[in-house]
């Protein structure tokens, strides 16, 4: 029974407290890592400029400085806004991000709660954010915000479906909805009888992976699907009226969700935390590092698209979702099901 400073760490309240602290620390950390590596540095180098260079070595503390700056700003409410809803909206958005982290495994024991319906839970809570966005758009008493929020609602509903259908293929193949179970299914799999690296589902579910990336892009409202925030049209959409730490909440929600979706993508399709031949406590140490590397690989694609593509129009996006992605996902499910039964 591990005792640290006289506290029994296996007590229920102690583990819960630890888990909450880890998740609370992970969201800002993930947001800052993605924000720094991709938004500040990768984008700058793609655009033949340096990006921030002053705060910390190579500008690495820029987002920390920005965060401190946001906290110091005045907390402004627009005059005709619905104050309670306006204040609650960023928290709802951040809450959905927070809940996503509960089911993502980073090692054999490093998981907050290994739910049997893990992936179902993750996809369900990720759509909570649209509620926060609608609240923000409505409560801001701003026409641009309202248009942005309604676009977000339409878009997220259209893209939930391909996202879920893309994941169904993986669930069929793994035979479980628990994310830990999906990792183990990939670890124990074999490619033509060779089981040394397991069987990451990206090989069998390549179409599913692509659909997942596209749908996640829309879910995260990143270009080419960033109509809800479209700064050249709607001046930031539902975020237009937010300043200070409330804006920081949206920012953290955006990048925290990007981090979580990259983690889900890495877990579902790239084998998650699994390191071949490593078990026990060592896997708990190496697992987060391996998962982190895979997260960065998936996030690289998400942000690469974001920086190079123009924005689609809302109706073109709907047509793309309903006429291309959903039929493709359904075909993928059917083929996966047939092959699952056949082999």
């Amino acid at each position: 029974m591990p005792l640290i400073l006289g506290v029994d760490l296996s007590a229920y309240w102690a583990t819960t407290l630890l888990k909450v602290l880890v998740v609370l620390g992970l969201i800002p950390a993930g947001a800052i890592i993605l924000g720094y590596v991709f938004l500040l540095k990768m984008m700058s180098h793609m655009q033949s400029r340096l990006g921030p260079m002053e705060a910390g070595p190579h500008g690495s503390l820029q987002l920390v400085a920005d965060g401190l700056k946001f906290i110091q700003k005045e907390d402004i409410f627009p005059e005709r806004s619905d104050r309670f809803v306006f204040a609650a909206a960023p928290i709802v958005v951040l809450l959905s991000t927070f809940l996503l982290y509960i089911v993502i495994p980073a090692g054999p024991r490093l998981i907050v709660e290994d739910l049997d319906t893990g992936i179902f839970f993750a996809l369900a809570v990720s759509s909570l954010s649209v509620l926060g966005i609608l609240m923000a758009g409505w409560a801001s008493a701003n026409k641009y915000s309202l248009i942005g929020a309604l676009r977000a609602a339409g878009q997220l509903i259209a893209y939930e479906l391909p996202l879920i259908l893309a994941v169904v293929g993986v669930v069929i193949q793994a035979g479980t909805m628990s994310l830990q179970g999906i990792v183990m299914a990939q670890a124990e799999g074999e490619i033509f009888g060779v089981g040394i690296i397991g069987n990451p589902f990206i090989f069998t579910q390549l179409i599913g992976f692509m659909l997942f990336l596209v749908a996640a892009q829309a879910e995260l409202t990143q270009a080419p699907f960033d109509m809800p925030v479209a700064e050249s049209e709607l001046v930031a959409g539902f975020m237009t009226e937010y300043t200070g730490f409330r804006f920081l909440f949206f920012f953290m929600g955006e990048f925290g969700t990007a981090f979580a979706f990259s983690a889900i993508g890495a877990t579902l399709f790239l084998g998650g935390w699994y390191v071949p031949g490593v078990e026990g406590t060592l896997a708990d140490v190496l697992g987060p590092l391996v998962l982190g590397a895979k997260i960065m690989a998936v996030a690289f694609f998400i942000f690469w698209f974001r920086f190079s593509y123009p924005r689609l129009r809302e109706d073109q996006l709907q047509a793309f979702a309903w006429k291309l992605l959903i039929p493709l996902a359904l075909v993928n499910i059917a083929v996966t099901g047939v092959l699952k039964v056949a082999f």
Partner: protein, 390 residues
């Protein structure tokens, strides 16, 4: 006041429910949205009032004048050499090109002509102003459609052109280099070689834009068939420049009028596009940037030697008379109508700037389009606020 009983209340609710059952539509009302004066898509202070039904524009009207600086009046209280400083700022991206029509009009009244070397260098700078202006459009169109990367490439390569401009004239943005009867100075040593290198960069920049942005499928779905201007309508609204050439009207003042500038000595082409949509306007401008680089390279190769300034009295007085001179500026036709009473400054100046006429088609063009397409159309019409309001 009527007494409301429970019975009346429940009757009212039942009636409402019956209405809902027979699917009586809710009454909706439109929304008036002010795009601007401060809005990222207007890159300046243009205000566009749009009446929306959902996301569809019912009616739109541009309201300009927020940046009116009264240039026509200001010209009247300045001497001729001072006027070029001022009119540089009309189309601030195509700086040098603004000076040329005014100087040509004044020269026409005085009956003098600049020596050939000055005319050739003028043409080189004119086309460089076109590159500096239009290359920004090529990147900016991307950012209006949500692609953030192209605009940085545009700024990067435009910088080389502006550096050349600065090396020769001393001014990056406002060269104020054109003089009645010639130019302020000759080109510095080594400038011609450097210019060759920069033009190679400009041509590769155009290729980059074509690969990165114009060839992109999303860009094409966003611009093809959006904001179509038929040639007849465009002519009625007085469009000029790339906007009318993209509608298939083969009209370019560089070729179509007898100008003292050196275009007639080069081999170049006026590009037109039959479609008249936003994509066509982008395509035409891209080709024009390429042509401008080609023109400059040819002019550099055949640059004549000789003086850069004709004999002009120290104090310039323009003889009485009236002159109209127009040129094909980066944004379209720009003209100066100059009236002189024989004094040291103009008596009256009327400026015809391209953007003011180009945005007059906005109400016609925006009817029935979606909000994102409003931005596409405005970006593809390409106006500079200084050029609208003067």
């Amino acid at each position: 006041m009527a007494v409301t009983t429970d019975w009346q209340k429940s009757a009212y609710i039942a009636a409402q429910a019956a209405d809902a059952r027979v699917n009586v539509e809710l009454e909706t009302e439109g929304m008036t949205l002010n795009l601007g004066p401060q809005h990222p898509a207007t890159h300046g202070t243009l205000r566009i009032v749009v009446r929306l039904d959902g996301e569809q524009v019912v009616w739109a009207e541009p309201i300009c004048g927020y940046m009116h600086r009264g240039y026509e009046k200001l010209c009247e209280v300045r001497t001729y050499p001072q006027v070029t400083t001022l009119i540089n700022r009309i189309d601030w991206l195509g700086h040098f090109a603004n000076e040329v029509p005014f100087i040509l009009a004044a020269e026409q009244l005085m009956g003098i002509e600049a020596p050939p070397r000055a005319q050739w260098i003028r043409t080189i700078f004119f086309e460089m102003a076109r590159i500096a202006n239009v290359s920004l459009f090529l990147g900016d169109m991307g950012i209006q459609l949500g692609a953030i990367t192209p605009v940085f490439y545009a700024f990067r390569d435009r910088e080389y052109v502006l550096n050349l401009m600065e090396a020769a004239t001393g001014g990056r943005f406002h060269p104020n280099f054109d003089r009645i009867g010639g130019l302020k100075e000759d080109l510095p040593r080594g400038w011609v070689d450097e210019c060759h290198g920069v033009m190679t960069r400009v041509i590769s920049f155009c290729q980059e834009m074509e690969d990165l942005l114009m060839g992109n499928e999303i860009f094409q779905t966003r611009t093809r068939g959006i904001g179509v201007i038929p040639a007849a309508v465009g002519l009625e609204y007085g469009l000029s420049g790339a906007n009318i050439r993209a509608s298939g009207v083969d009209w370019d003042l560089r070729r179509d009028q007898d100008s003292p500038l050196a275009w007639k000595h080069c081999d170049w082409k006026v590009w037109t596009h039959p479609d008249g949509d936003s994509y066509a306007r982008y395509w035409v401008r891209l080709q024009e940037t390429r042509e401008a680089a080609r023109i400059i390279v040819q002019l550099l190769d055949g640059l004549p030697s000789g003086p850069i300034q004709a004999k002009v009295p120290r104090i310039i007085k323009v003889p009485p008379g009236e002159a109209w001179c127009h040129t094909e500026n980066p944004l379209g036709e720009m003209g100066f109508y100059l009236v002189s009473k024989g004094g040291r400054g103009p008596f009256r100046v009327k400026i015809r700037s391209a953007s003011f006429n180009n945005i007059s088609i906005v109400p016609w063009l925006l009817r029935g389009v979606y909000v994102p397409d409003v931005i596409t159309i405005l970006a593809s019409l390409y106006f500079i606020l200084g050029d609208i309001d003067r």
